[in-house]
């Protein structure tokens, strides 16, 4: 049983916690640097990336998070993907640059443009369809040579991995399918 940290400054960290529990592991809400100490992995949840980045700066958590991200498996969803990216637009502080992608925030539009649709996931050479929830979602507009594409919605790249860092532009924590959390916890 692994201890999975979930950054809990703001956002849908509870939903990630529930997904982790369904797989028989222990979610650890991370609200300060010390909370990371017993964690094996970290999830950066959905939420408002501007608000979360502000809080990280104000609570002096950048260095400790940066160190953890550099040495442990990390999974970011939506706002989490934005924070892990190399580059994203209109942020109050630089993202963590843990994965070589460039991201455009709210790329589909406002809430009225949010949608649920089927995406194609390929984690191990076997294609699978999955329901995905996109809420004011970002788009990956460029990716570096080290980045592997693990999922697409039509032409759009929606799930990527580089070494021990994985990121999705949608919210696997809002659907019952535990495939991505299982992959993150057991195979990444």
């Amino acid at each position: 049983m692994a201890s999975i940290g979930v950054l809990a400054l703001q956002g849908d960290f509870e939903k990630h916690g529930q997904a982790i529990e369904r797989l028989g592991h222990t979610p650890v809400p991370v609200k300060n640097g010390d909370d990371l100490k017993g964690c094996d992995r970290l999830i950066m949840p959905g939420g408002e990336s501007t608000a979360i980045l502000k809080l990280i700066e104000r609570l002096d958590m950048r260095t400790v998070l940066s160190d953890f991200i550099g040495s442990h498996p990390v999974f970011g969803t939506c706002a989490g993907l934005i924070m892990l990216a190399r580059e994203a637009d209109r942020l109050p502080a630089p993202p963590f640059a843990a994965i070589d992608i460039r991201v455009r925030r709210n790329a589909y539009g406002r809430q009225i443009d949010s949608f649920v649709d089927t995406v194609t996931i390929d984690l191990d050479g076997q294609e699978r369809k999955m329901e995905a929830v996109f809420i004011r979602a970002p788009k990956i507009v460029a990716l570096g040579p080290g980045v592997t594409v693990l999922g697409r919605h039509g032409k759009d790249i929606v799930l990527v991995r580089e070494k021990h860092v994985m990121a999705a532009s949608f919210h696997p924590e809002l659907t019952a399918d535990g495939l991505l959390h299982d992959y993150f916890i057991n195979k990444l």
Binding site: E48, T50, L55, L59, R110, Q111, I135
Partner: protein, 293 residues
Amino acid sequence: MLEEQFKLKVGLAEMLKGGVIMDVTNAKQAKIAEDAGAVAVMALERIPADIRADGGVARMSNPKMIREIQKEVTIPVMAKCRIGHFAEAQVLQTLGIDFIDESEVLTPADEDNHIWKHDFKIPFVCGCRNLGEALRRISEGAAMIRTKGEAGSGNIVEAVRHMRRVQAEIKHVTTLDKHERVAFAKNIGASLELVQYVAEHGKLPVPNFAAGGVATPADASLMMQLGAETVFVGSGIFKSSDPEARAKAIVLATTHYDDADVVCKASESLGEAMPGVEISSIPENEMLQNRGW
């Protein structure tokens, strides 16, 4: 399709959890709110304390002002429409507002009916004073519930009353057997289906936020500890002597609501909070929370 819509609406409410939603009346204030770490802003023409002071009919904000705020910030922008005024809600949907508050702070347009919110693609938040009111709004399609509190009062007592009432009724429902749930649903005027959901899950089917009277970091911490999942701050920020510092402090206190050290530090070196009013000094017919049912 309906289920998908509901997932998207509640999904956005989930993203706002643990944050602070701030009332703003122009683009400049919206920027201050975003810089302070707000998760969303509520665009309105006058903040509740001024609506209370000025009197007259309070309506949906001017679309031009809303557009300016949308241009200024990247966080979600919410706006209020009058209770029952579905045409105002249609206008807000056309503007691409991210969340609509069908709010008792504005002058009600329909004293009998609330908006049938299922007709909209945009999620709605509605106020409540008790579980029955919360479940009626959810039946109509609300994707988020907040306490009504007493907006513009700077006094937390009504928000506490409403949050405690909802939580106490939720606890009570979980102790009822199947036979008793039917009578309970009848008594509180809510659908049996939703009462069953609450009985089985011990919580509302949508996020439950706090609003109406939050003025200090400790107020925010109190509401979070009572079970709120996010805090709306209306007049409390821009009616204080130092909006920027206060906005930041309330954000910190909401994230670390269970850490008194952080709440203490956040409360230091703040100027004057908004003055606030004693609830008993507000005439019954001027109580905003009595609007809607």
